[in-house]
């Protein structure tokens, strides 16, 4: 199969990006050192190509009610120019996808969706089309850059007239970046302050290079998907296909805060109501390794001599210098310090449940998805 390429493919090659298949896209997994890229985002600023993410627009007179029906969070509560973490759910209450919804105004909404789910989401929303709306797959119309880290504002401010200090977390605006009309969003997937820029693909290489140039004093660092994964894991943010999928629901995944049962009807509501009354049977928890070893995705998890689960995401945590992971456990085993065993290539290694996020900033910061709602 031919892999899809973002408009920054040649840029990644030039920078020594190690290219891998990710959801059918040829993407840089790192540019030599995941550790260095990860730590750059925590300490100064990193830049990611996330153009593989999908974009779906809902436009028309009934766009808002359409979005209310196919997403779990409350679109009505948003002001124009605000973004929202949300989910598309099956009637069972399980995940079609997790998304970020942007409200331009009540008749124009943009959904940023996972690359692997782009077609599925588009078909799902189209199947449930209602009223006067157009549903558009706009994935090819946007490149997306993520500029993440405490110095992100200082770097981006040099390329735009927009006053970034007045753009709050989970708000966005349209404006020129380096002379190119872009959507500038104060969002991200790292736990750091930062921005996501949506812009025409043909302009992405020049803007990327401009950011590298103006960000030199801040030691801006191109960062790959491996760092993106360790950064989000340290925050215990869910990743579709790992923590959340068609078998898990928001109550189990600690994502109850993106479900607004009181907002009116939406797909999944009835079952979620019923499930909430029952209480979740299992819940997503963080753990850290006690014995020497690294838990990896899908490794078996044991409690009291029984295999009861598997690791949904597991990795070294570069910021904490520990080995951490996420797993679903029956609720009676979810208390902090609960002993577990992770089966690492045939050996049972000790681990224990710990609070999440794994990584906590030691000074005040702009908010991030895990803290909203």
């Amino acid at each position: 199969m031919t892999l899809k390429r973002t408009s920054l493919n040649a840029t990644h090659q030039r920078l020594g990006g190690r290219m891998v298949d990710f959801a059918g896209w040829e993407m840089p997994v790192h540019y030599g050192s995941t550790l260095r890229e990860h730590l750059a985002v925590r300490s100064t600023v990193g830049i990611f190509d996330v153009s593989h993410m999908g974009e779906i627009e809902i436009r028309g007179k009934d766009a808002l009610s359409m979005a209310q029906k196919v997403t779990s969070n409350d679109v009505q509560s948003l002001q124009d120019g605000q973004a929202q973490y949300s989910a598309i759910l099956y009637p069972e209450g399980t995940f079609v996808d997790d998304i970020v919804l942007y409200r331009f105004h009540s008749e124009h909404l943009l959904l940023c969706v996972n690359a692997a789910n782009r077609e599925k989401d588009f078909q799902w929303i189209s199947q449930h089309q209602e009223g006067q709306v157009d549903i558009l797959d706009r994935g090819d119309a946007y490149a997306q850059l993520a500029l993440q880290g405490p110095q992100a504002e200082a770097v981006l401010q040099q390329l735009t007239e927009i006053d970034l200090s007045s753009l709050r977390s989970y708000w966005f605006t349209r404006g020129d970046v380096d002379g190119v009309d872009s959507l500038i969003s104060r969002t991200g997937y790292t736990g750091e302050d930062g921005f996501e820029l949506y812009l025409p693909p043909e302009n992405a290489p020049a803007i990327w290079d401009s950011l590298l140039t103006v960000g030199r004093p801040q030691q801006i660092t191109p960062a790959g998907l491996a760092a993106r994964n360790t950064l989000r894991l340290e925050m215990a943010y869910s990743l579709y296909g790992h923590e959340i999928d068609q078998t898990t629901n928001p109550w189990q995944a600690n994502l109850g805060w993106i479900v607004k049962l009181e907002k009116g009807d939406f797909i999944g509501k009835e079952n979620l109501q019923r499930l909430r009354e029952k209480g979740p049977d299992r819940r997503l928890v963080g753990f850290e390794m006690v014995d020497r070893g690294i838990a990896r995705d899908h490794y078996p998890v044991w409690v009291d001599g029984k295999q009861i689960s598997e690791v949904t995401s597991g990795s070294p945590s570069p910021s904490l210098k520990k080995h951490v992971g996420l797993t679903y456990l029956p609720v009676q085993y979810t208390a902090v310090d609960q002993p577990l065993e992770v089966e690492v290539r045939g050996r049972h290694l000790k681990a224990k449940v710990v609070p999440t996020p794994f990584y906590k900033k030691t000074f005040p910061r702009v908010d991030s998805p895990g803290h909203l709602g």
């Binding site: 090659q13 190690r18 290219m19 891998v20 298949d21 997994v29 790192h30 030599g32 050192s33 995941t34 550790l35 260095r36 990860h38 491996a226 994964n229 360790t230 020497r292 070893g293 690294i294 990896r296 990795s315 070294p316 570069p318 080995h323 290539r345």
Partner: protein, 133 residues
């Protein structure tokens, strides 16, 4: 790419140096670059007996686990325990402080299957096609 002249190489990207009956084994510069940051190393016990092609340990990067294989058989006489606390030595100095194990060679003819530096260079060039993931 650093491929020292005085070493021999395996298809799994280990290097070997031989002094009498004792063979030192590590992973090549090519291998450490492929792995990315090595953050965790597992090594065998001293005294453990290995056959040619056995996995003798593992190297873990942030993203993945890779096994290390010995191209020759023998008893493990020494392991580089300093890697347990400083696995990054595999990246920084793969042919020096990043060595992994020493073993007492059982069958010297097994050394014949290894690649010369020239052969190994060619081998790595074939392996690293642009589409390689």
């Amino acid at each position: 790419m650093n491929i020292p002249e005085n070493l021999l190489y395996s298809k799994e990207h280990e290097w070997l140096s031989r002094e009498g009956e004792v063979v030192t084994i590590g992973v090549s510069d090519f291998a450490q670059k492929e792995l990315g940051d090595v953050v965790f190393v597992e090594l065998p016990e001293v005294g453990h007996s290995l056959s040619a092609q056995d996995a003798f340990g593992s190297l873990e990067s942030v993203k993945a686990v890779s096994e290390a294989f010995t191209p020759v058989g023998g008893e493990v006489t020494e392991v580089n325990e300093s890697l347990l606390d400083a696995p990054d030595k595999v990246n920084e100095d793969p042919y020096g402080e990043g060595w992994m194990i020493r073993l007492r060679l059982e069958d010297a003819s097994q050394m014949d299957n290894l690649m010369s530096p020239e052969e190994y260079l060619k081998y790595t060039q074939e392996e690293s096609s642009p589409d390689d993931a």
